[in-house]
Symmetry: C2
Subunit: 74 residues, 2 copies
């Protein structure tokens, strides 16, 4: 017989990968949740600063311009 399946992770925790604020905290403080085209998620304040300063994704180091991230509607 197969062993029991592990419990499914139904809802991952979503938070900014720079400041670690949760999506609830982000939305309550008038920021928006954003995704880069490399698929990493940040709050608008942190990704704006990253694109002005380091110009690369803090997670995977892909080059980032203003055209390479967008709001995420979840």
């Amino acid at each position: 017989e197969a062993p029991p399946s592990p419990p499914a992770l139904e809802q991952p925790t979503i938070s900014c990968l720079v400041c670690f604020d949760s999506v609830g905290t982000i939305q309550k403080s008038s920021r928006t949740l954003c995704s880069t085209v490399c698929g990493h998620v940040f709050c608008s304040t942190c990704i704006d600063a990253v694109v002005r300063q380091k110009k690369q994704c803090p997670v995977c180091r892909k080059k980032l311009t203003k055209k390479q991230y967008h709001p995420l509607f979840i």
Copy 2:
């Protein structure tokens, strides 16, 4: 005195906007969660079909090509 704040929505439910499968169901069935550059979220099976067929976002009707969506790592 200010009225009590409404309870915060800490974690929204994330699911494909075409088939409505949750992120857990998507991941268990070897699909990936994807976002369009217009910020709408789908499973890889549904967005692949949309880009082949209708070529526009099912939510906001923005024109979609293969370059206008990406995996979302959450």
